[in-house]
């Protein structure tokens, strides 16, 4: 018995040792299919790499800032006219009064380094940030005994000067720019060569407060970070107990009836609701109905609690499920009630999983922007850090993602750079939180 057909034609399969055309076609299709898979993975990873390089490439510039070193003589006749070093009198001199001092200092510096120049004093002083006068005034208010001396200061340079040193602003593009002109750029070059203008690491980007549209060089992330911190505090204090309580009920005590079904369906639906709907809920209930203050971290924390609750419930249920039934039975066997067995035995053993789930939920909540926009955290300049916890919760503030969005909206390349830098800070927080969660999970994981 062979496979030879009666008509005597060659068998279709041929020998196993030589591939016929059909098999070759199938093998080629196999190789193509495998290639598609590899291409897909490579594309996905390529996107990740492009994203990360863009973020790092564009954002690290924000951590460096251009500073101008100036010796400013603190003329007593301008700052303390009465001469009795009374702090109230000194306070009356506004930043307007400090501008001539800085102009004079700038003119002197230019005279020392360059000699002759066509620039006016006003144009020279325009190289400094508009923030510089405030910085000088704050110094004088803290050290009134220095009036009459000449003190060396490091002032922020104006954002166009900063952009010139970072490559953002080039000489051909500034024809219509009213903030800078070619002659000022020449002066900048000379001062850089002389060492009076340096570009160095700027800590106040991380710790400082936000600044208005005209001063991108002074904008910082610090106050927004505090706002995010308070929101995360609210989320932790509210979402963790409620989430764990709901999970314990659903996992240990809930009878299998329709009410439990409805609760479970609701939780899985809430996990898939778009975040902006939570923002609308926050606006309608917390701000319009309960009249909580607009753009307060408390309101943001409440909205984010509602968003994080399903995540925490799902991960807590998984941890509770992973504790073997033998533990529960053993607890009941030594005489504990059901509630005691859950709270004294199951919960402590499930705690590491609950902790990691909470940290991951918090990390997700940290990056949420859409609901915060609706409760008022946009268009708000977070300029003063809160002093007390109550003020931190109730007074209007910004949050990290909302601050980044705000900077992106200002449509100024200097602010775009700061938005990328803010993203780096946000990602550092997220990566560290996720890393802590993974480390904790690995350290405390038990194999039952």
């Amino acid at each position: 018995m062979t496979d030879m057909p009666i008509s005597g034609a060659k068998p279709h399969g041929g020998s196993l040792l030589t591939q016929d055309d059909h098999t070759k076609k199938r093998n080629r299709a196999e190789a193509r299919f495998k290639a598609y898979g590899i291409v897909a993975i490579v594309l996905g990873l390529l996107m990740l790499v492009i994203l990360l390089t863009t973020i790092i490439g564009r954002g690290t510039g924000a951590f460096q800032q251009t500073f101008v070193t100036l010796e400013v003589p603190l003329l007593a006749e301008k700052l303390d006219k009465k001469g009795n070093r009374d702090i109230e009198d000194i306070k009356k001199v506004s930043t307007f009064g400090y501008a001539p001092l800085m102009r004079a200092a700038m003119e002197q510096k230019v005279a020392q380094t360059v000699g002759e120049t066509t620039l006016s004093g006003k144009e020279m002083a325009a190289l400094l940030s508009k923030d510089a006068a405030a910085q000088l005034r704050n110094f004088v208010l803290v050290n009134p005994d220095q009036i009459g001396e000449t003190v060396e200061f490091e002032f922020l340079a104006q954002s166009r000067v900063d952009g010139y040193l970072k490559g953002r602003v080039s000489r051909d593009e500034i024809a219509n720019d009213k903030n800078i002109n070619i002659a000022q750029l020449d002066l900048v070059d000379v001062l850089v060569a002389g060492g009076s203008i340096v570009k160095r690491f700027n800590l106040s980007f991380i710790t400082g407060s936000d600044a208005s549209d005209a001063r991108p060089e002074a904008a910082g992330m610090g106050v927004a970070m505090l706002g995010s911190l308070f929101m995360m505090l609210v989320v932790l204090v509210l979402a963790l107990p409620i989430g764990v309580a709901a999970s314990i009920y659903l996992e240990e005590f809930a009878p299998k009836n329709w009410i439990t079904d409805i609760i479970e369906v609701n939780i899985s639906n809430l996990a898939a609701v778009p975040s902006i709907v939570f923002g609308i809920l926050g606006l309608a209930v917390f701000i319009n109905y309960m009249h909580l203050p607009n753009s307060a971290p408390l309101v943001g924390g409440l909205v984010l609690t509602l968003m994080t609750l399903p995540t925490i419930i799902i991960s807590t249920r998984a941890s509770l499920k992973s504790v073997p039934p033998s533990i529960r039975d053993a607890a009941l066997g030594v005489g504990a009630s059901k509630m005691q067995s859950v709270f004294h035995h199951v919960l402590p053993l499930a705690a590491p999983g609950i902790l990691t789930g909470t940290i991951i939920g918090l990390a997700q909540a940290l990056g949420e922007t859409a609901p915060l926009l609706l409760i008022g955290m946009v268009g708000f300049i977070a300029s003063n850090p809160p002093e007390t916890i109550a003020e931190g919760l109730m007074s209007p503030n910004s949050a990290m993602p909302a601050q980044i969005y705000e900077w992106a909206k200002r449509a100024d390349p200097a602010f775009y750079e700061r938005a990328w830098g803010g993203i780096i800070i946000l990602l550092v927080f997220l990566i560290s939180m996720n890393a802590i969660a993974v480390l904790l999970r690995r350290r405390f994981e038990r194999r039952w």
């Binding site: 598609y36 898979g37 709901a246 859409a370």
Partner: protein, 499 residues
């Protein structure tokens, strides 16, 4: 005395109740132990339970009544004060709610004045709008009012304050009485025979049930809050025009065109492009990782793809606006300077920008869900297929994918629902112009973008331009909910039970 009690704020009251609860814990515990002469074995429950029983009896009724009171009191006061506002005070184009908020603001201003010492309590009661310029007086202590205060508004504000003070006084008294009564009852019960543990555990179970019901409460809250304001909107703007009209052009003169169809088109167009990017890449990546990849490649590539899921959407939005957008303009626009030499695209924001970036965001979503589903197909099917002589790709194409198809369709629908509800990428990447067009290189706006733009900035909650955001939100919620339920239904109906 009345002033003393009514001045007690809610925070202080809560602290008092909590202190009473702690005191009750220790006292009740002592009493229970004393009732069995110190021998705790004779008690029914552990001594601590008697204490917890007392703490619960003190705190829970008092706090519940306080919460209900604080929710109901503003509504009752509002409804009784609204009756005082005469029709004549409601000017043209305004509404009674706006006058009511003026009343509230005046009342709060008077409260601030008393708190800062600028006015005494009696002076606020005897103020008259004709004799004093309230607006200037309040401005002097830092309270800004939008318009001059007329007599009816001032009277309403004074009545509002009086009613609030009275309500607070009663609230404090009743809550304190409840707390003390709870303490007394619990102390009387603290004897050896009392089944404290059962009572406490029943109480704790009730707390657990309430926490679980918070999920339902949230859903109900979402639906009701949007439904309420949407009803207000549909009273001002015909619903037929909203759902079936064709233009979106809000303007504050009042005759806006507010219809959802252009926004729905933008949303769906961007989601389709996002799915066109995410589904092939995600599906093929999942197939390769679960079928072909060795353990080392899997351990390396899977977490890296998951990182894409953990990046906040604001980062993607900025990426779309500042990197992908200009790149696409370079390719498709800019005439002779561009890569293709065409001038099809003028701005960085477009459907293609937002769609591409949203697709990148959805890749890990589709990939990990498909991965789980493909792994769930039993090995016996694969082995049977190999046994019949199929190559690996033929097995995947003809055996595994059909078996996993319901789950994969469910995953795609979930990804679509995620794409429809996404906000930050489209706010930054898609633009603000509402149009219905087939050109993916043009800017088109979406439902979520318009919700953000209508609810930020100057919001007047009586105008249809602001209320439309609630109607949009309700439509979005129903749409995504429908997609999720549909996905669950498909998975449940067509899935094969293998075990």
């Amino acid at each position: 005395m009345g002033n003393l009690f009514s001045g007690v704020s809610a925070g202080v009251l809560i602290l008092v109740i909590l202190t009473l609860a702690v005191a009750g814990y220790f006292t009740a515990r002592q009493r229970a132990l004393a009732s069995v002469a110190g021998d705790s074995r004779k008690l029914h429950s552990l001594p601590g339970f008697y204490g917890y029983n007392a703490a619960m009896c003190v705190a829970i009724p008092a706090l519940i009544i306080m919460a209900i009171w604080m929710l109901v009191q503003p509504m009752l006061i509002q409804s009784s004060v609204i009756k005082l506002i005469p029709q004549s005070s409601i000017s043209e184009g305004s509404s009674v709610n706006l006058v009511m908020s003026d009343v509230r603001r005046v009342a709060e201003g008077l409260d601030t004045a008393v708190a800062q010492g600028a006015m005494t309590q009696e002076a606020t009661n005897t103020l008259r709008a004709e004799t004093t310029d309230i607006r200037a007086a309040l401005a002097g202590i830092g309270v800004a009012l939008g318009s001059d205060v007329e007599a009816p508004v001032l009277e309403a504000a004074q009545r509002y304050r009086a009613l609030t003070l009275q309500g607070n006084l009663f609230r404090t008294l009743i809550v304190l009485i409840l707390a003390i009564a709870g303490l007394v009852i619990a102390l009387r019960l603290s004897k050896g025979d009392f089944r404290a543990r059962n009572v406490v555990e029943a109480g704790v179970k009730t707390l657990l049930i309430i926490s679980a019901s918070l999920a339902i409460l949230t859903t109900v809250g979402i639906v009701l809050s949007m439904l309420f304001e949407s009803m207000n909107f549909f009273r001002l703007h015909p619903w037929t025009d909203f759902f079936f009209g064709s233009k979106w052009a809000p303007n504050f003169r009042g005759d806006s065109d507010l219809s959802i169809l252009p926004l729905l088109w933008g949303t769906l167009y961007i989601s389709v492009i996002a799915l066109l990017v995410a589904v092939p890449i995600g599906l093929f990546a999942a197939i390769y990782l679960s079928e072909y990849a060795g353990p080392k490649v899997r351990a390396f590539a899977k977490p890296l793809l998951e990182i894409l899921a953990g990046i906040p959407t604001i980062v993607y939005g900025l990426f779309a606006l500042l990197t992908v957008g200009p790149f696409l303009v370079n390719v498709f626009g800019r005439g002779e300077n561009g890569m293709l030499g065409v001038d099809w695209m003028s701005g960085a924001t477009s459907v293609l920008t937002a769609g591409l970036v949203m697709g990148i965001m959805l890749i890990p979503f589709v990939s990990s869900l498909s991965d789980d589903i493909i792994n769930a197909v039993p090995q016996s099917l694969r082995d049977g297929s190999f046994g019949l002589g199929a190559t690996h790709s033929e097995t995947v194409r003809q055996v595994i994918l059909p078996a996993a198809l319901p789950g994969i369709v469910g995953a795609v629908l979930l990804a679509a629902s995620r794409a429809i509800g996404e906000t930050m990428i489209v706010v930054l990447g898609a633009g603000a112009i509402a149009r219905v067009s087939g050109n993916p290189l043009e800017a088109m706006t979406t439902i979520t973008t318009r919700i953000v733009s209508q609810l930020t900035g100057d919001t007047d909650f009586a105008s249809p331009e602001t209320l439309v955001a609630f109607a949009l939100g309700l439509t979005l919620f129903v749409l995504t909910l429908g997609l999720n339920v549909f996905a669950l239904y498909i998975v449940r109906k067509y899935r094969e039970q293998y075990e």
